[in-house]
């Protein structure tokens, strides 16, 4: 019985190293893309049809802001850091819009358990963001989001230029720095 254990360990190690090899490969791919502006991994927003809070269908591929930057942020009513992030941005939103014209689209991944709380929560906070609903996680999956909060910055041409996972108080300033950097580049 002990001999079988030995063989199993070797098999597991073989599989582990092969899996890690493929992981390395994809990471190299990604690294190349991030360092090269025109790499093949320059991501655009996948085109799907989501509903907004008044039942209208919105094509995600057609989201645009007149050539100005856009923020897409994934959140849920039960995700405390997500709410903190969006509330922090809400406090600065007026200034941000004045200076850069940026627009924020908050995509809620609440499923049927909490979907009814989305509109009441948004209204109670008086957010001016556009809210999209993604109850089965289809858009979240297509954008490659692991867990929320996850925020993307999209330039005027629809290309994703910055993404950040997790939220710590102060991250909104980092996000704004990225927006300013983007504005400089586009000038």
């Amino acid at each position: 019985m002990h001999i079988i254990v030995e063989f199993k360990t070797i098999k597991i190690m073989k599989k582990l190293s092969l899996l890690l090899a493929s992981v390395f490969m994809f990471l190299t791919l990604n690294v190349d893309a991030q360092e090269n502006d025109k790499g093949i991994l320059e991501k655009t927003i996948p085109d799907m049809q989501l509903k907004n809070t008044v039942g209208e269908t919105i094509h995600t591929g057609q989201l645009e802001n007149d050539g100005k930057p856009m923020i897409i942020s994934f959140w849920a009513t039960w995700c405390t850091p997500c709410k903190k992030e969006l509330n922090a941005i809400h406090d600065l939103y007026v200034d941000w819009q004045e200076e850069t014209g940026v627009r924020l689209i908050a995509v809620s991944t609440d499923d049927q358990r909490t979907a009814s709380r989305v509109v009441p929560y948004v209204d109670s906070k008086a957010w001016e963001f556009q809210i999209l609903l993604d109850p089965n996680g289809d858009f979240k999956r297509a954008m490659g989001v692991n867990n929320i909060p996850h925020t993307f910055l999209v330039d005027g041409n629809g290309k994703i230029v910055y993404a950040h996972n997790n939220y710590a108080p102060g991250d909104e300033y980092e996000l704004y720095d990225q927006i300013l950097k983007l504005m400089e580049k586009e000038d």
Binding site: I12, P120, G144, N146, P169
Partner: protein, 551 residues
């Protein structure tokens, strides 16, 4: 070896993609690693393999309307608490599809939801180990403005053995029609009305291989939904009927099942109110009638309770929907006291009130002959509840920024949980507990923040494991680092030897879309029961490492 084939396939895909530089590749990966030690105090055993690893990588490709993707998964072996039939490494998910304004077709694996999901929901929640993906064909049509038709056909994933997906025994077929009436009658929008309606039909085919009963091979479920909104009010509801579905969950009875969920609410700037009601009877619908726990579920019955995130509230006595039957109600009020007022303070105060409860439904047996040949064991009406309480949760949450740098959040919960039904611990009857949480955040400067939580739980009459306390400190450095330490203590356990402490520390680093978190400490065990079958998740002590990356 299968892996080398997948690897060559992936390399070909990569070089192929390189050639077609127009498309977009996106995806994500996650790896969860645990190194476990044995710990006598909490009965944690060190598994033979000592270290456990779950990982996966999703790669999606899109070009104009064409889409394709794969997911490679590896369980070497599976981490603790994960359903047991997962091992090996290989292809866990693959699809090709085409989407344009009129049609959206996917062949291979896919996820889909009809309406609220009560009749059919195929989804993933990787953190909980839930994944009932479909393997087959999904065809969506948008033939006319405002009309969406969804159709699905296939089998659901049951397990992942030796690197290959194993699918359930039953074949699922379904169709759903949704109409947004505002697109047909623009007058509705002009008058501030919004109306959406829909209907679904889902059927499962499973061979009758049971020599004890004659089982219906085709089980159908159908229903409709309607959503209305007028200015700031909204009301929506869905009603589903399921025909004869004798299964392990309901003891092979031939009753029909029915379920209804209604939500209504009102919201305006600064105030939101939501009321919900749910009545479920015999709605466990799986693509294999002999399955149990969380396997092969076709419908999603949402628990009508608030999703709690604080440690003691969420992990000790959580509620789980009872698919065999329950009548539940919930009310939510979210209110923001304006800033600058006396009660609101300088920055305003947020108040949130929530009440949720669930009861056993009344099952009438007066007109039923249990010994007749129909095997129908009771009759019931929607929203007819008995006096047996399953669950009650009354909670209040107040959050206030008291100073430029200080924010305080205080919460109180009163939770009553019927352990005879939910079976989370060894206690009998209803366990009532009071929970208080104080959460204080201090912004040291623009980038450094420190947050502390202190939580306490006290059970009425010192039932079950008595009182608990949790303390948490979290220090974050924007945008890269976070550190946290948590101590959960069962200080008030009536049995002295069981007054165990569960300390844990976490350190994490974030680079944009990449996150690494290392944790070390002790985690208490959990009991998970659905429909009379109970699985035990053992306590653990050790190192855990989580790596996530999106690209």
């Amino acid at each position: 070896m299968k892996i080398s084939r997948i690897l060559t396939g992936a390399i070909l895909l990569y070089s192929g993609m390189n050639a077609l530089a127009q498309g977009t590749i996106s995806g994500n990966m996650e790896a969860n690693y645990q190194y476990l030690l044995s710990d006598e105090k909490i009965n944690a055993i060190q598994p033979d393999e000592k270290s456990l690893l779950n990982s996966y990588i999703n790669v999606n490709y899109r070009l104009a309307g064409f889409k394709a993707g794969v997911r490679l998964e590896a369980y070497m072996p599976r981490t603790l608490g994960y359903p047991d039939r997962f091992d090996g490494a290989g292809l866990g998910y693959r699809y090709v599809g085409y989407e344009n304004d009129l049609v959206d077709i996917t062949v291979g694996n896919f996820y889909e939801q009809f309406g609220s999901g009560l009749i059919f929901r195929s989804y993933e929640d990787r953190a909980l180990g839930l994944d009932n993906m479909m393997n087959g064909i999904s065809l969506n049509l948008r033939p006319y403005k405002g009309v969406t038709i969804k159709t699905v056909y296939g089998r659901q994933r049951f397990s992942f053995v030796d690197g290959k997906n194993q699918y359930g025994a039953g074949i699922v077929r379904g169709a759903d029609l949704e109409v947004n009436f505002n697109e047909w009658f623009p007058k509705l929008s002009e008058n501030n009305f919004r109306v959406t309606g829909g209907g679904s039909l889902v059927s499962r085919y499973q061979e009758d291989n049971n020599s004890q009963f004659i089982l219906p091979e085709n089980t159908g479920a159908y229903g409709g939904r309607l959503a209305l909104a007028y200015k700031k009010f909204f009301i929506n509801g869905e009603y589903i009927i399921k025909e004869q579905d004798p299964s392990q969950d309901n003891g092979y009875i031939y009753n029909f099942g029915k379920g209804m969920i209604i939500n209504a609410g009102y919201s305006q700037k600064g105030l939101g109110i939501v009321l919900s009601a749910k009545s479920i009877d015999n709605m466990s619908f799986r693509s294999d009638r002999d399955a149990a726990l969380q396997d092969l579920t076709m419908g999603f019955i949402p628990p009508l309770t608030k999703t709690h995130t604080y440690n003691l509230v969420a992990t000790l006595y959580p509620y789980a929907s009872q698919p065999t039957g329950e009548v539940a109600f919930q009310a939510d009020i979210i209110y923001k006291i304006k800033r600058g007022t006396k009660l609101g303070g300088k920055y305003g105060t947020d108040i949130s009130l929530n009440f949720s409860t669930a009861y056993e439904p009344l099952k009438k047996t007066s007109g039923i002959n249990l010994l007749d040949s129909t095997r129908v064991t009771y009759e019931s009406t929607l929203f007819d509840k008995s006096d047996l309480l399953y669950w009650r949760d009354i909670n209040v949450n107040i959050k206030r920024k008291v100073h430029k740098d200080w924010t305080i959040e205080a919460s109180y919960y009163n939770i009553s949980m019927n352990n005879d039904v939910l079976k989370l611990t060894n206690e009998q009857g209803v366990i009532e507990s009071h929970i208080g949480v104080l959460d204080v955040e201090y912004k040291i400067n623009r980038k450094h923040t420190i947050r502390a939580e202190i939580q306490g739980l006290w059970t009425v009459n010192n039932k079950d494991r008595g009182s608990w306390a949790t303390g948490l400190i979290e220090y974050t450095v924007s945008p890269d680092w976070f550190f946290s330490a948590m101590l959960q203590s069962n200080y008030g356990n009536p049995v002295k030897e069981d007054r165990i402490n569960y300390p844990m520390v976490f350190v994490g680093k974030i680079w944009g879309a990449t996150r690494v978190m290392v944790g070390y400490g002790r985690q208490k065990e959990g009991l998970f029961c659905v429909g009379g079958i109970c699985r035990f998740v053992p306590a653990s002590n050790g190192l855990s490492l989580t790596f996530t990356h999106s690209f």
